[in-house]
């Protein structure tokens, strides 16, 4: 009974003391709370959203697939017997998809865009509804099949070309009227890897465009709902055996989108995790700053008989309440993300998206939040063990023996293990989790070593007594090593910033160099073999024949490797995509220019023998094949077997035309095919004139501007860099907490210093100058350490992760080098300036 009472009172004490100590201090934790909030919010939000999406997909699989099964084939219509069988045994809707250029007639500038055509029959859609916004009747559910030479377009295309409902656009041979804007396309989701915007039309309209000619890259699809609900997939597989038709059903269909969601979730979660880990430094700094202010209080409590553990718990409890303030709103906002996004998702992804609350992301993000917070709090908090009540009377320099340090070390290791475990859980990638932790750990270790190294030097060297250098040296080395705390707190943020900047600039330079030297300006697709001569002529007269480079292309699937069906093969995860869908092939008896042979030789220029193939080196490794092995392809419904003759290194970065598979010249070249080409010219105007000429003369040819594509990639990259830079800035800024508290704490000493200087007859100017030097030195030291570490880390990352040359922009470096000393100096002097003009005697009287 009394034991129970005791427990309550003990608890009470902790709570009471914590509340009292924390009263009015929440303001100081703004940055800490913000950092926790951002990290936890990202993890919860992304987790909830992705769980919700996956849940919806699982529930709407057949709607998204557009049927129970989807059959598809490239280049050719479905074999008659398959189509007939399907029509007799269930509901069928046939769709044709292809890429082409659409040009608006409205603008005099003749604007063009590459679009994804989708031509449907009268049965489409088998499941769900097409919703379109038209000119006069608003949003309606409708059908496009009846309409001839009329199309529906995407919102995106409408904005890009600045067209509106009722406008006339050019498509192949016809001029079509835009009849409405697509608001909801029931089986849209699977084509998210689209090049261009969607244009929807009837099959008859597509015929009229004249775009479907032999060799043009056309995808035929049949959506199928069988009458017999018990129909087995294996039966259908038999039906398509020996053809180049492939089947998707609701079980394997969502793979793509699921992987996409998983990848994206993983990526953003990692950003969240790294935010949290980096903001851990901010947390640590915040806690450190708070505790520095509380040193005296802790000493008092201890002098009254409080044990170390009691003090530890009292302050831990306070920190916990601070964490909660960050974590709770983050979780609440996080789980409401699906609700906030549901209108947008309902419009673009799912017809009716139902937002829900999921438990798992809450659990994961809370665990992360608390573990990271604890980890970064424990270290500064364990310093409370070192505070002795005797500090109330004098500065103690005794070596402190902390009997709890081992327990705390074990606890920290335990926390790190938990974190690793959670990360492995989140990323399902042990290697990645390992890398993240190792690199963070190494960077922090190097940072501490560097700082300690400099301070040991500072402690050891002596300048002439009374000299300026010596005065500065003393003021930095003295005073509880506060300067060291300042240096470490700022260096973490700044070295992150330096690392990011060097990486960004190196990547930028690489991209810039590639675009300017190697990469073509434009890609052309769907060139008919009959057109190539004409285009070559145009090229000779404008950009020069050397700058136009065309290669034949055919799509087909790999069916067997060394006589084993690919469905039964186990290959590296990284190369599974090669086997999954149809791939592009080319043929040539000369080695592609920018490729280097790794093994084997190229075949003779006049080679006429059995089919040979050259394969990308990394892909070959992943597929576990070597020279002499056999690969079977299905192209246009026919099977070809080729022997691997050599392997090449493919330089994807060069942005030229790259084929994984290059076949030897053979009868394949007689099959209907198209060509793919690149063009470039130093003169931008000549270059675009050439493109204009080609696409206006040949309406079936589409062009893609590399610069435009790069813009999208670059803007994505930029966004990422902005996010990480922001985090780095937050981290850098958290150093201010430490600086500011240290200034507050040492204010009394400073005041005293000023008073004495004044009484001894020193002018304020001299005092300011001395402080100026002191803070400048501290700032420069931090900059120096940060730049050393930043260069080191970015060099390693660039060389081993990005494979990009290290590039240092000296201007940025100088700016980064100066930013901190200047900031620290101004900030500190500003805070101290008021003191200088205080009356010396008042200060002395109140100093004790």
């Amino acid at each position: 009974m009394s034991g129970f009472k005791n427990i309550i009172f003990r608890k009470n004490l902790f709570l009471k003391l914590s509340v009292m100590e924390l009263r009015g201090s929440f303001n100081e934790f703004k940055i800490v709370i913000t950092s926790i909030f951002i990290g936890v919010f990202i993890i919860t939000g992304v987790g909830s959203l992705s769980k919700n999406l996956q849940y919806e997909i699982d529930n709407k699989r057949s709607e998204l697939l557009g049927g129970t099964y989807e059959f598809s084939t490239t280049y050719q219509e479905f074999p008659k017997e398959i189509k007939n069988w399907l029509e007799q045994n269930g509901k069928v809707s046939q769709i044709v998809e292809m890429r082409t250029m659409l040009s608006s007639k409205k603008n005099s500038l003749n604007k063009r865009r590459i679009v994804e055509l989708k031509a449907v029959d009268k049965n489409w859609p088998l499941i769900g509804n097409l919703k379109v916004e038209t000119e006069n009747s608003g949003l309606i559910s409708t059908n496009i099949n009846e309409k001839i030479n009329e199309i529906f377009v995407d919102e995106g295309l409408k904005n890009q070309l600045n067209i509106s409902v009722g406008d006339i656009v050019k498509l192949g041979k016809i001029e079509a009227e835009v009849k409405g804007i697509i608001k909801q396309e029931p089986d849209r989701i699977f084509s998210f890897a689209n090049f261009g915007s969607r244009v929807l039309m009837s099959s008859q309209t597509l015929k009229n465009t004249g775009l479907v000619i032999p060799g043009s890259l056309v995808k035929y699809k049949i959506k199928f709902i069988p009458n017999n609900k018990k129909l087995e997939l294996s039966f259908l597989n038999k039906l398509i055996e020996g053809t180049n038709v492939s089947i998707k059903n609701i079980k394997n269909s969502t793979n793509n989108f699921n992987t996409f969601i998983e990848r994206t979730t993983l990526f953003i979660s990692l950003v969240g995790l790294i935010t949290l880990l980096i903001s851990g430094v901010g947390i640590s700094n915040g806690v450190k700053g708070y505790l520095i202010k509380k040193i005296k209080n802790i000493a008092i409590i201890k002098s009254l008989g409080a044990k170390n553990n009691q003090v530890f718990k009292i302050y831990l409890l306070q920190m916990f309440s601070v964490f909660l303030i960050g974590i709770i709103p983050a979780v609440i906002l996080g789980i409401s993300t699906p609700f906030l996004f549901s209108p947008l998702i309902g419009e673009t992804l799912f017809s009716s998206f139902q937002a829900k609350v999921f438990f798992e992301p809450i659990f994961i993000s809370c665990s992360y939040g608390f573990i990271v917070c604890l980890l970064f709090t424990i270290i500064p908090l364990s310093k409370t063990y070192e505070i002795k009540p005797i500090h109330l009377i004098r500065v103690s320099r005794d070596k402190i023996h902390n009997e709890h340090s081992n327990k705390i070390k074990i606890f920290i290791i335990f926390l790190i293990c938990c974190l690793c475990f959670l990360t492995v859980n989140l990323t399902s990638d042990i290697k990645l989790a390992f890398y993240i932790f190792i690199s963070l750990f190494i960077s922090l270790t190097i940072l501490t070593l560097f700082t300690n190294f400099f301070f040991i030097i500072f402690k050891k060297i002596r300048f002439k007594i009374g000299s300026l250098l010596e005065t500065i040296r003393r003021s930095i080395v003295d005073r509880n090593m506060f300067s060291k705390s300042i240096v470490i707190s700022f260096s973490i943020g700044l070295s992150l910033l330096v690392t990011l900047n060097i990486i960004q600039e190196s990547l930028d330079k690489k991209i810039y160099d590639t675009i300017n030297q190697e990469a073509p300006d434009y890609f052309f697709i769907d060139i008919q073999p009959s057109q190539i001569e004409e285009i070559n002529k145009i090229a000779i007269n404008s950009i020069g024949s050397n700058n136009f480079n065309a290669q034949p292309m055919l799509r087909g699937r790999i069916t067997k490797l060394n006589n084993v069906n690919v469905e039964k093969l186990k290959v590296d995860k990284d190369v599974q995509w090669v086997l999954k869908r149809d791939r592009a092939f080319t043929w040539s008896n000369v080695k592609p220019q920018n490729n280097k042979l790794i093994t084997g030789q190229w075949w003779e220029p006049d080679y006429k023998g059995p089919l040979l193939v050259s394969i990308g080196n990394k892909i070959a490794k992943g597929l576990n094949v070597k020279i002499g092995d056999k690969i079977e392809f299905n192209i246009l419904g026919r099977n070809f077997e080729a022997t691997i003759h050599n392997t090449r290194e493919i330089v994807w970065e060069s942005m030229g035309i790259n084929f994984i598979f290059v076949l030897s010249d053979s009868i394949i070249k007689n099959a209907p095919h198209t060509l793919i080409a690149t063009s470039k010219n130093k003169n931008k105007v000549t270059s675009s004139e050439f493109v204009e000429k080609v696409v206006s003369e040949f309406s079936n040819i589409s062009s893609i501007s590399i610069e435009e594509s790069y813009k999208t990639i670059k803007s994505l990259l930029k966004l990422l860099i902005i996010i990480i830079n922001t985090i780095a800035f937050v981290t850098l800024f958290s150093g201010v907490i430490v600086l500011s508290t240290i200034l507050d704490v040492s204010k009394k000493d400073k005041l005293y210093e000023v008073a004495i200087f004044k009484i001894l007859g020193s002018k304020p100017k001299k005092i300011i100058l001395l402080w100026f030097y002191e803070y400048m030195t501290i700032g420069l030291l931090s900059s120096l350490i940060s730049i050393l570490i930043g260069c080191l880390v970015s060099f390693i990352l660039l060389n081993y992760l990005f494979n990009v040359e290290f590039y240092l922009n000296y201007l940025t470096l100088v700016i980064l080098l100066l930013i901190l000393p200047i900031f620290i100096t101004i900030f500190s002097l500003f805070k101290m300036l008021k003191l200088i003009y205080s009356k010396p005697l008042n200060v002395l009287r109140s100093h004790y």
């Binding site: 009172f9 003990r10 201890k302 002098s303 009254l304 008989g305 409080a306 002795k388 320099r397």
Partner: protein, 226 residues
């Protein structure tokens, strides 16, 4: 076997304290032998830097000794662990500092309650209010330290040092920061309360007139008792 006679509460045997400064180690106490009798008041005098504070804090268990022995009653306290020393302080010692050392985040009443809460003996406010009344602060109970004058703050500190009815009160220049009028009041109060609570008082002071109130006066010089 008892090494002390009946009324000895604190006994120091050949106590040395070395303090490390930036450059060198200073011997602050150089072999102190001292018997402090229960319920008496003892005054430590000596010039500045003689080691008075160090001696007082050694007895409070705040300063580690380099050599020698200290006993509280029969118990050796020189080899206690930090947490046990904290316990010893919580149960037996009340400390009054020159610079009050109240927690700024707590009211006068909360400050006085603090030692009880730490030792887990807090029941209610009655006792603390009574103590605050006895130091003349019945109207300042819920004030924060920054709302109190120096003399008032020191009186709160005195009330706090007495709340767990310690057998030993250690006061290190309790009037060092107060003016004459306040000093007299505070000193009067300390002696009065010491009598009422039947405790032992160890008082560090420079002031001869204050010292004269004590039962015994020792003088430190250069780390030794004269």
């Amino acid at each position: 076997m008892s090494i002390m006679n009946q009324n000895t509460i604190i006994k120091l045997e050949n106590v040395f304290v070395n303090l490390k400064s930036n450059i060198e180690t200073i011997e602050v106490l150089k072999g102190i032998n001292l018997n402090i009798l229960a319920n008496k008041s003892i005054c430590i005098m000596g010039h500045s830097g003689a080691g008075k504070s160090t001696l007082a804090m050694t007895i409070a268990g705040l300063e580690n000794i380099t050599k020698g022995k200290i006993f509280y009653k029969d118990q050796p306290i020189h080899d206690l662990k930090e947490d046990d020393l904290a316990d010893y302080r919580a149960k037996n010692v009340g400390i009054i500092f020159q610079s009050f050392n109240l927690l700024p985040s707590m009211t006068a009443l909360e400050n006085v309650n603090l030692p009880l809460e730490i030792s887990g003996n807090f029941i209610d406010d009655r006792q603390s209010i009574k103590l605050l009344e006895s130091v003349g602060l019945e109207n300042r109970i819920n004030h924060y330290p920054h709302e109190l004058s120096g003399g008032e703050q020191q009186r709160v500190a005195i009330a706090r040092s007495l709340i767990s009815s310690p057998e030993i009160i250690i006061a290190d220049e309790p009037t060092g920061n107060l003016d004459k009028k306040n000093s007299e009041a505070v000193i009067k109060l300390i002696f009065e309360l010491q009598k009422n609570h039947n405790s032992t008082l160890i008082l560090v002071t420079h002031d001869k007139s204050i010292a004269n109130f004590c039962d015994e006066i020792i003088t430190l010089d250069n780390g030794l008792i004269l």
